[in-house]
């Protein structure tokens, strides 16, 4: 191959070495992506900081009345839903109590049963109907805001009088326009990666806020048992 084609189609080069020119381009790309991630986070927290505090107050209220949180998402967002749940179940900060959170994608028997017998759109709804009660909370992650199984679960959760919280991306999709959500935190980016990176930061902060808001309750409980 002549040099012109190699520069236009580097994947045709079968030597598998990384030319210095490519290496420096990759280094620049790393920094550009990190800057982009920072920019997206700054835009999100500037716009939605107040909404995040309101959401934390709602989640704190769920726990204050002895309720439970349920979490859901698909794919990478399912991992975020699991991460959200474990933050509450197994707090990393010593002295903070464990709070009940149930990840709805954890039960493979239930997921495959409902998915196969009823439909994938119902995998979260059926679990909510079986497990949730008035006053509990439901949090869902969808980078597009258009996941049908989440939207269906939010609608039912609202009918069951659960507190509902959505983490979305882009323009928020259907989730942002749905009457089934009390709080919808939308990261203004079309990049799924940048959206999910911001979600992680947001729910870490939310977890912190919830515990701060629950301090008075914890204090009373600790005082009562002493």
């Amino acid at each position: 191959m002549n040099g012109y084609l190699e520069s236009l189609y580097p994947f045709l080069d079968e030597s598998h070495g990384i030319p210095e020119q490519v290496r420096s381009a990759l280094a620049a790309s790393v920094l550009a992506k990190a800057r982009d991630s920072l920019k997206v986070k700054r835009a999100f927290f500037t716009r939605s900081g107040g909404e995040l505090i309101a959401a934390a107050e709602a989640v704190a209220a769920v726990y204050r009345r002895g309720g439970r949180m349920f979490t859901m998402g698909n794919g990478g967002s399912s991992c975020d839903a699991a991460h959200f749940a474990v933050e509450f179940l197994h707090p990393v900060t010593p002295g903070r109590p464990a709070l009940t959170a149930v990840h709805l994608a954890a039960d493979t028997a239930m997921l495959t049963a409902v998915g196969n017998d009823v439909g994938f759109d119902k995998i979260f709804v059926r679990q909510l109907i079986a497990q949730a009660a008035q006053g509990d909370g439901l949090v869902g992650f969808s980078t597009s805001g258009n996941s049908h199984n989440l939207l269906a679960a939010f609608r039912v959760a609202k009918e069951m009088q659960l507190v509902t919280l959505g983490f979305g991306g882009g323009d928020g999709g259907e989730m942002a326009r749905s009457a089934g959500l009390d709080h919808c935190l939308v990261v203004p980016s079309a990049s799924i990666h940048r959206v999910q990176e911001t979600h992680v930061t947001a729910y870490h902060i939310l977890w912190d806020l919830v515990h701060t808001l629950l301090t008075d309750v914890r204090g009373r409980r600790q005082g009562g048992s002493a």
């Binding site: 191959m1 002549n2 040099g3 012109y4 084609l5 520069s7 236009l8 189609y9 580097p10 994947f11 045709l12 381009a25 790309s29 882009g170 323009d171 079309a190 990049s191």
Partner: protein
């Protein structure tokens, strides 16, 4: 007409069709579905419909219309960027005509022109450079769009502007490369293609050499093919001969234009001016690594993206639009729920309806309208998708 009629002779076409049918009968014995051949280039798609070639092929051979129409794969956000540039008072925005009607999220360049923006249609980037010479008090932006075919012309224009020191000329670069996209299609887990009619115009610049990986790594035959009816039928016949013999090679049907090693002067200009982007977004196909180019820093003064604040916002396609599925060959244009109703050449929603080289526009223009669906009319020349 000399150099045209000899490529449109009915007798030769009939002979090729007979041979194709004979080979299809042989190949059919070892395939349980129709053969699927992708014509990569939008020019091929247009020619096939113009001459009704698809309807003449045996039922066991299907063409899948590939992503080789640069206007069709332009993401909506880039059109919005064009409009934002065009609406700047100091800018004269110049573009090829077929990009004028591509819908952005709010308006097309044609609508921006109607609203007062100074948008001018040109036939060559050198025309845009001429406008810059005549209007030194204005900023002239050229909308660089197209595959390897048009890239050298833009590169040479930048070199010319640099040589003349024309400071009020810049390029909004949206040039893309087709070869990585063919690779992305081949890497698709749903791949059902049996062979490729390689792009004729792109290969005029690149030569046939870049396609060797398709035969070697993916075991798919490629025949680089011209655009006249006999070119396409001969290219199809050559593909079928390879498939019948179990061969996977890169062959060149378009020898009167395409060489093995391409045009060194054109490739040299491209290499001097452009470098690869890490990735580029294709409408309907998503981001494809190393599939677009940008201006090298040595010529940064001519880069409109650096000269102006371009919004660069990604816009999702309309949810009902199925251009992506058509581009990947998953559905036929008439199977899109918008085809011929909400989306027509007069009021296009999807990009495939905008350009005459788009598959939807070709289906619509040559009479494959909704009412002609095979389900509704058994005599219709289009076969149902598998």
């Amino acid at each position: 007409m000399k150099y045209l009629e000899e490529f449109r002779e009915p007798q030769k076409a009939r002979a090729l069709l007979r041979e194709i049918a004979r080979l299809a009968g042989r190949i059919d014995t070892c395939h349980r579905r129709p053969l699927q051949l992708m014509e990569v280039c939008g020019g091929h798609t247009h020619a096939m419909f113009r001459y009704g070639l698809e309807a003449l092929l045996p039922d066991t051979v299907e063409f899948v219309h590939g992503p080789g129409c640069p206007v069709c794969v332009l993401p909506m956000g880039r059109v919005d960027d064009c409009v934002a540039l065009a609406e700047r008072t100091e800018v004269i925005f110049t573009t090829f005509g077929d990009a004028m009607r591509v819908p952005g999220s709010k308006k097309s360049l044609l609508q921006a022109k109607a609203d007062g923006a100074d948008v001018r249609m040109v036939y060559s980037p050198l025309d845009a450079l001429g406008i810059a010479r005549r209007h030194p008090d204005r900023q002239v932006v050229f909308f660089g769009l197209g595959f390897e075919t048009t890239m050298p012309g833009t590169a040479l224009t930048i070199l010319q502007a640099h040589k003349e020191g024309i400071a009020n000329f810049s390029l909004f670069c949206n040039h893309i490369t087709i070869v990585p996209t063919i690779k992305a299609i081949l890497d698709s887990p749903e791949l059902t293609l049996d062979g490729f009619l390689g792009p004729g115009h792109v290969s005029m610049v690149t030569g046939t050499q870049p396609y060797q990986f398709i035969a070697r790594r993916y075991r798919k035959p490629v025949v680089v093919t011209g655009f006249e009816p006999l070119d396409i039928l001969q290219g199809t016949w050559m593909l079928m001969k390879q498939l019948a013999a179990g061969r996977c090679e890169v062959q060149n049907q378009y020898r009167r234009v395409v060489s093995t090693h391409g045009n060194a002067a054109a490739l040299g200009a491209v290499q001097a001016v452009f470098e690869l982007r890490e990735f580029f977004e294709w409408r309907g196909l998503g981001s494809i690594d190393h599939s677009g180019v940008r201006i090298r820093s040595a010529y940064a003064a001519f880069d409109a993206e650096r000269r102006f604040a371009v919004p660069n916002v990604r816009i999702a396609d309309p949810t009902a639009c199925q251009c992506g599925e058509v581009l990947k060959g998953a559905i036929r244009p008439w199977q899109c729920k918008l085809f011929g109703t909400a989306c027509t050449p007069e009021t296009p929603l999807g990009a495939l309806m905008v350009s005459s080289e788009g598959a939807c526009a070709a289906y619509h223009q040559y009479g494959y309208a909704r009412s002609d669906r095979p389900a509704a009319s058994p005599a219709a020349p289009v076969r149902a998708a598998t």
